[in-house]
């Protein structure tokens, strides 16, 4: 038993719903109590879907237990088939139904429905949403993909996009465009946008693009083993990774090197080189998200934006190994946890200048007064913009530049804040002018000369406190922390102006 307040991932059947809702012509019969229907609103509200998810819940109640929940399941299955006439059904249990052990897969299989019925075993008390999505997609592919003649031209499948995914809709479009530029067509993109009939013809493509390893890896591995389709490992997020992805595609398809995509629409490199971006140099960023997006963000942050990565972690343990290896490279301690309180503590401790995280970290950032850009699920309604907004490929790189720089104080503006910080318009509480009300200043320092210092805290001389207050709010937390660390290392208990500037000199970069 573990006390949890906010969770990064839902239960595994929500992952299955993401696959089913992304597809067409598929229906999911879920053995579950009424309250589990809340999951529909994730799709209809957060993603603004215009259809109900293709899910029929049995909504059994206490009075049904022990008597006829199995009959209820069969009846629901039959009704759902009659009403929706899907090309295929997936059937399974949510956490409660798992305990009553009705075996939905077995029951449905014996009903003799005229369409494929795919049973899902998603252990709710061990696994989570991403795993549920990957297992569901794998089972669908395993049951439906059939050997077939290769497509006429050179084609691939783009695998892993689902409903409710972070920017999946636009990533699939962007990578389709990138591949078309290389002369490669897309046979099927799945699960997002595919029908069971489309899944059947997956093997007709030359190779697979594993767009989201969290969801597509088991399916990609199986397709390679059973149908000889190679698959890409590189996730094309950022300039470097997109180039690596193109190179990997070239190698898989045997194109003669050098293969390079048309980069005329790629603006990140120049935007990063232009002088206004000088102020991005060494910005200390804390990165947390799903493994794939966190790893990709770290690379872009350090190698393409010139930030300093001061924290790196993910919530899906399946990627712990990759994150640990990368963290070593960045010289940071890896954070593998699905407890947002741990994440908050880690962020509070390293006092980054920006967080690249999920919706959870956005709230942490709000509380701590640290700007945050969202790079990964879990998502909220604002992560489904009306505009085209991929994070992959060339346009994706442009989008990353914009969305990461936006929360930061703009370059010129930052200088002005330094120069005029005593001026009334540039006072401490004025955040970036384009984000009114966004930035929260660090807690106000109350200077109470006679009050004893709290236990374990440093004694700041009054003039040192005053000097500290002259430092702009967005770096003040770091200055305080650095000074105190510096003082602690030297056994200094009372911090004077001298200590402050000694520390500043010590940490100068």
């Amino acid at each position: 038993m573990k006390l949890s307040v906010w969770t990064y991932e839902g239960p595994p059947h929500v992952g299955a719903m993401r696959v089913a809702t992304g597809m067409t012509g598929l229906h999911y019969v879920l053995h579950a109590p009424q309250g589990d229907t809340y999951a529909d609103l994730l799709f209809t509200m957060i993603e603004r879907r215009n259809h109900r998810p293709p899910v029929t819940y049995t909504t059994f109640q206490a009075r049904d237990l022990g008597s006829d929940t199995a009959d209820l399941f069969k009846q629901t299955c039959m009704d759902a088939y009659e009403r929706f006439r899907p090309q295929a059904l997936i059937v399974g249990a949510s956490c409660t139904a798992e305990l009553i052990q009705d075996d939905p897969g077995g029951l449905a299989a014996r009903m003799g429905l005229p369409v494929p019925v795919i049973p899902l075993e998603l252990p709710s008390y061990q696994r989570k949403e991403n795993w549920g999505a990957s297992e569901t997609f794998f089972q669908i592919v395993r049951h439906l993909a059939k050997p077939c003649a290769p497509t006429a031209g050179l084609t691939c499948n783009i695998l892993g996009g689902t409903a409710l995914g972070f920017r999946h809709r636009d990533d699939v479009a962007e990578i389709t465009r990138l591949l078309e530029g290389l002369g490669i067509g897309v046979n099927v993109a799945a699960p997002l946008g595919a029908s069971p009939a489309d899944i059947a013809r997956l093997p007709a493509a030359e190779f697979n693009v594993m767009l989201y390893p969290e969801i597509a890896e088991p399916a990609c591995r199986w397709l390679e083993r059973e149908h000889g389709q190679k698959y890409t490992r590189t996730v094309p997020i950022g300039v470097g990774a997109t180039r690596d992805f193109v190179a990997e595609v070239a190698e898989i398809t045997g194109m003669a090197p050098p293969v390079r995509a048309d980069e005329s629409q790629l603006r990140l490199p120049w935007w990063s080189a232009s002088v206004d971006s000088t102020y991005l140099t060494g910005k200390r960023v804390f990165i947390f998200g799903d493994g794939t997006h966190a790893l990709a963000a770290a690379r872009v942050a350090r190698d393409e934006m010139g930030f300093e990565v001061v924290g790196l972690g993910c919530y899906n343990r399946e990627f712990a190994r990759d994150i640990r290896a990368a963290a070593k490279d960045y010289g940071v301690t890896p954070l593998i946890t699905d407890d947002y309180l741990d994440v908050e503590a880690a962020i509070e401790q390293v006092q980054p200048e920006m967080i690249l995280g999920t919706q959870m970290e956005r709230h942490i950032g709000k509380r701590l007064g640290i700007p945050c850009a969202v790079i990964s699920a879990p998502v909220h309604v604002q992560d489904f913009p009306a505009r085209y907004s991929p994070v992959m490929g060339h346009e994706g790189a442009n989008v990353l530049f914009d969305t990461w720089v936006h929360p930061l104080v703009m370059g010129l503006e930052e200088h002005l804040l330094h120069m005029f910080r005593e001026d009334f318009e540039f006072h401490d509480d004025a955040g970036p002018s384009h984000l009114s009300g966004h930035a929260k200043p660090a807690p106000k320092l109350e200077i109470v000369p006679d009050a004893p210092a709290p236990e374990g805290a440093f004694i700041w001389a009054i003039d040192a406190e005053k000097e500290l207050r002259k430092i702009p709010f967005f770096v003040r937390g770091k200055a305080r922390r650095n000074t105190e660390t510096f003082a602690a290392e030297r056994g200094i208990e009372a911090i004077s102006i001298e200590t402050l500037y000694d520390a500043k000199a010590h940490y100068a970069r």
């Binding site: 589990d36 809340y38 215009n50 629901t76 008390y125």
Partner: protein, 430 residues
């Protein structure tokens, strides 16, 4: 002014369509979202699964607090293996929680479907934990599970579980039952005081120390139609449960307050004198907003059990025509007055078979459909105008001063639909 409740017509004898198909409603856990805000020294600990945690998070939406006063003890594989272990684990999590949160004075152990299916006895656990953490912390259990409760029934179960903890009094007092926003509660209390009733108590109270006592002198005025079990528990403690229409709209509020005041022995003339101004002000405000609603049809999907009283308000005070009034559960005795006041005509349904109900709504093409969040956008995409029902539970809608706001909740989607149709006559839905 009180004549509204004496008319012998309406839907009292209307047949009720009982549906037992697929339901599209929240479970009782959802009530925690508003209950924890009302009871400020309480923590709600759900003993459940990742699904329960995810539901709470999704229902709470963007209201992310640093550390809210609710959480889920997520059961894992090993908790399912043996109940002894599960109990031990629960005790440990509670110890940790209470050590970290010394401000907590009441702890609710909230049962879920998984905890009920494995028969984890939370009442025993609550006793055990009370021995351990009392008297500083009072531990009470109730079920918010989806196999036992629907949405607002969670609050009913919570309050019913609290009743045995209330002290005894024989004093004459008026008890308002149901967690109302403070602003609404204060308005009611002010009006009763103006009539000379000093002994007005609220249940639940904002803090454990302020919990009301109960006994033979207690007159209970229910503020919500879904509090059947809580009412029964209070009746078992010798309280007198008053029958009244619910305080929605100007007339509904006037009738509700009058019944409470009369039970406390206030003469009608005094009641009328106090209510006259606010009643008139509310009626005028509602009438203005209702211009947009008159003659329009409305279809209510089952959600919060507020449907019957709300339909009564929409029909009588806003001039709307209810086509179907669905409720997840109908406490016949509690909504009797509202049913009597609801003009004949609409289909009254209890329970749900969501696909069949959607078919009925599509056939009827109502001007306004009141439904849950899972159905709203899909119905909008089909050209129906919708109002999310959940807002009716999360916003202050009771009482005189909120009566026009309540009407506005229904009027706004209709106005917006007209705007959208003129701004974007042709539109593609996502």
């Amino acid at each position: 002014m009180t004549s509204v409740i004496t008319e012998p017509l309406g839907c009292s004898d209307a047949p009720i369509l009982k549906e037992r198909g697929q339901r599209e409603v929240f479970c009782g856990l959802t009530g925690i979202v508003w209950l924890h805000r009302k009871m400020q020294d309480a923590f709600f600990l759900v003993v459940g699964s990742r699904t329960c945690a995810h539901l709470l998070q999704s229902a709470a939406g963007v209201m992310i607090f640093a550390e809210p006063r609710f959480g889920t003890a997520i059961m894992e594989e090993k908790d399912l293996a043996g109940l002894a272990d599960a109990n031990e684990e629960l005790d440990r999590e509670v110890d940790r929680l209470l050590a970290r949160r010394p401000d907590i004075k009441q702890l609710f152990l909230v049962g879920s479907c998984p905890s009920e299916v494995i028969k984890l006895d939370l009442s025993r656990a609550a006793e055990r934990l009370t021995d351990r953490h009392g008297p500083h912390v009072q531990v009470v259990n109730y079920s918010g599970s989806g196999i036992e409760t629907t949405f607002t029934q969670g609050e009913d179960a919570c309050l019913a579980a609290l009743v045995p903890t209330l002290g005894v009094t024989a004093d004459k007092q008026l008890m308002l039952v149901g967690s109302l926003p403070d602003v609404v509660e204060d308005q009611f209390v002010r009006l009763f005081k103006a009539m000379g009733i000093e002994a007005v108590r609220s249940f639940p109270a904002t803090e454990r120390g302020l919990a009301p006592k109960v006994g033979p002198g207690t007159k209970v005025l229910l503020a919500q139609p879904f509090l059947g079990d809580a009412a029964a528990a209070l009746a078992a403690r010798d309280a007198d449960i008053l029958s009244a229409p619910f305080p929605f709209g100007a007339d509904g509020t006037a009738a509700w307050i009058s019944i409470g005041a009369r039970a406390m022995g206030v003469p009608q003339a005094r009641i009328d004198a106090v209510l006259e101004t606010p009643h008139r002000r509310a009626s005028n405000a509602v009438a203005k907003v209702a211009q947009n609603l008159r003659g329009k049809t409305v279809f209510l999907f089952p959600d919060s059990q507020l449907e019957i009283p709300l339909a009564r308000f929409l029909a009588r005070e806003c001039g709307m025509i209810p086509i179907e009034v669905g409720s997840p559960y109908i406490h016949g005795s509690l909504v009797a007055d509202d049913l009597a006041l609801l003009p004949k005509g609409p289909l009254i349904s209890e329970g749900q078979d969501v696909d069949r109900q959607l078919d009925r709504a599509r056939d009827a093409r109502p001007d306004l459909t009141v439904c849950g969040l899972g159905l709203a956008n899909p119905l909008e995409a089909e050209g129906l105008t919708t109002k999310w029902a959940i807002e009716l539970v999360f916003s202050p809608i009771h009482g005189f001063e909120q009566a026009a706001d309540l009407a506005e909740l229904f009027a706004r989607p209709i106005r917006r639909r007209a705007m959208i149709d003129s701004m974007h006559p042709a539109r593609v839905t996502a």
